[in-house]
């Protein structure tokens, strides 16, 4: 009886695993087809649309990178009389405020908002909400303090807002410090899978591209109507994505609006960052699962994609669970013939990384980017995949324990440290 129950459970767990693999294969094929079309087509560019834009840069102890970022902001090609750049010094104890003030003295479009120890240090959403009343722009663009965008990134992001139904726009994120070590190289591969294929496919197929919280733009009027950023979850960006869709608006993705980030460079920093993403994403899943399914403003395809997107960080937990059941089945009944489904958990373990891009999505992304040498690292993604299963399982257990023990309120917001070790070769960007 126990064996039969376990077998049924094993097969049932393979259903979502297979659904995700099919979903990502469809994404991969869609992007290959999109790329074929894009080769010979000229995209219409609405260059004439130039609203006032406010750029928000929250910074908490970012003296190592803030100068590079602000110097780039000063070089942006967008008309300066239509640009407001607000640096939010979120209770920094280093030279972040001093460096930012130097830029505010040099350029009229720069402003620095200082938050004291009592006000600040409560996370990005809190810092962004604090400056919302000071924002003048119709469009709000956000960058993390380590970001280095293309000079024309604002134009590329803003032109999508010509469509009144567009609530937010996400640009592409590429790793700046990729050659630093094996961790940064693997994170760069994850980013390729996530942004070159996953986000692009969701945009091309009319699904739900994810608002990433940085290198992105949002319509101010909509954001104010929605009540700003949600400070109660760890991933305010994913949360905002679903609020935008539930309000009847959509998020678009612009592949050629590229920004460069400093990726985490150690396994400890990777754990800390991904743990926050996993737990935050799970919080959003609990909050919006039924709202997404019951919404009348979402099309069926958006509901299906929303459902899969919300639950994506639960998949590594399911994979670990199915793996354990498979082993238990073997131990209980070793004489039983080999089950072909046993291959599925191992394939799925090659699929839990970054935005949960499977190995083939990463490979095809690298192929489309013509990153020939990056292919060689794809087999090494196994380590990241295994690491992610541990991270997501821990995040899931902690979240459940928090709910059972009645621990509410916002979890501590672990800031990712940036060191500014990579110099930017501007001629390449």
């Amino acid at each position: 009886m126990l064996v039969e129950v376990l077998e049924a459970l094993f097969v049932a767990l393979m259903v979502p695993v297979t659904a995700y693999l099919i979903r990502h294969y469809i994404f991969t094929l869609a992007v290959l087809q999109y790329d074929q079309r894009a080769k010979n087509s000229q995209e219409t560019k609405s260059a004439s649309y130039q609203p006032v834009v406010s750029v928000l840069i929250p910074a908490h102890n970012e003296e190592q990178v803030i100068d590079r970022t602000l110097s780039r902001m000063a070089q942006l090609g967008y008309p300066k009389n239509k640009l407001q750049i607000i640096v939010i010094d979120d209770a920094s104890t280093d030279r972040t405020e001093e460096i930012s003030e130097q830029y505010a003295k040099l350029y009229d479009c720069f402003e620095v908002v200082h938050r004291s120890k009592e006000e600040g240090g409560h996370g990005k959403a809190s810092a962004l909400n604090a400056v919302l009343p000071k924002v003048r722009g119709e469009i709000i663009v956000c960058f993390d303090a380590d970001y280095y965008p293309q000079k024309d990134v604002i134009e590329k992001l803003v032109r999508m807002f010509v469509d009144a139904k567009v609530g937010a726009v996400q640009g592409r994120v590429t790793v700046l410090n990729e050659p630093q070590n094996v961790v940064t190289r693997l994170v760069a591969l994850e980013r390729i899978g996530g942004y070159r294929v996953d986000q692009q496919a969701r945009d091309s197929l009319g699904l739900i591209p994810q608002f990433g919280g940085t290198a992105d733009a949002v319509r101010r009027s909509l954001l104010e109507r929605l009540g700003g950023w949600d400070e109660s979850v760890l991933t305010e960006d994913t949360e905002l994505t679903f609020r935008i869709y539930l309000a009847g608006y959509k998020v678009r993705y612009v592949l050629d609006a590229e920004s460069y980030e400093e990726a985490v460079a150690s396994w400890q920093a990777y754990w800390k960052q991904r743990y926050r993403w996993a737990k935050g994403h799970m919080q959003v899943a609990f909050k919006y699962l039924f709202k997404v399914l019951g919404s009348k403003k979402l099309r069926l395809r958006e509901k299906i994609d929303g459902l899969l997107l919300l639950n994506v960080y639960f998949m590594p937990v399911l994979a670990v669970f199915s793996w354990a059941i498979g082993v238990a089945l073997f131990l209980l009944n070793p004489s039983k013939s080999f089950n072909p489904l046993w291959f599925l958990p191992s394939i799925s373990l090659y699929s839990f990384v970054g935005n949960f891009a499977p190995f083939f999505e990463v490979g095809i992304g690298a192929y489309l980017d013509r990153r020939t040498r990056a292919y060689w690292l794809i087999p090494l993604l196994l380590y990241t995949f295994l690491y992610n299963t541990l991270i997501c399982t821990k995040a899931f257990i902690d979240l459940l324990l928090g709910k059972i023990l009645g621990r509410s309120g916002q979890d501590s917001w672990g800031k990712t440290m940036h060191f500014g070790r990579m110099r930017v070769r501007e001629q390449e960007i």
Partner: protein, 133 residues
Amino acid sequence: MVLEMKCVASSVWHSILGFSIVVIASLLFWFSSVISKEFATMFMVFNLLFVPLTFPLDGLLAMKLLLLFAGNAVGFVWNSMLWAFSSVMASQFGEAFNTAYFVLSPFLNLVWIISFWSVSLTVLSKSKNLARR
């Protein structure tokens, strides 16, 4: 426009041909009395991953077919060695080794499947760049 349609048509044609070969080969493997079910499953996993991920890409059909056959050959050698190794180890360590082997064998197969696919992407990209020159 004409070039674009030709590219899409050739990738579709390559994929259909690749799938046809793989489906026939998989059926032969599955119903063969010589090949074990575990071996047959591994070949099916490789072929069903390899064809849809390689044949829609730019490149010569002959090169893709060559890579497909090379992949199957590598898989055969890999699994033969694995089988020989596991037979010896099982006779030494018994049931404990069998359990470990059962848990790890799909992983071990995925290691070569994904590595071979990565190498194939490199080969296809190189031939694509050469053709462009």
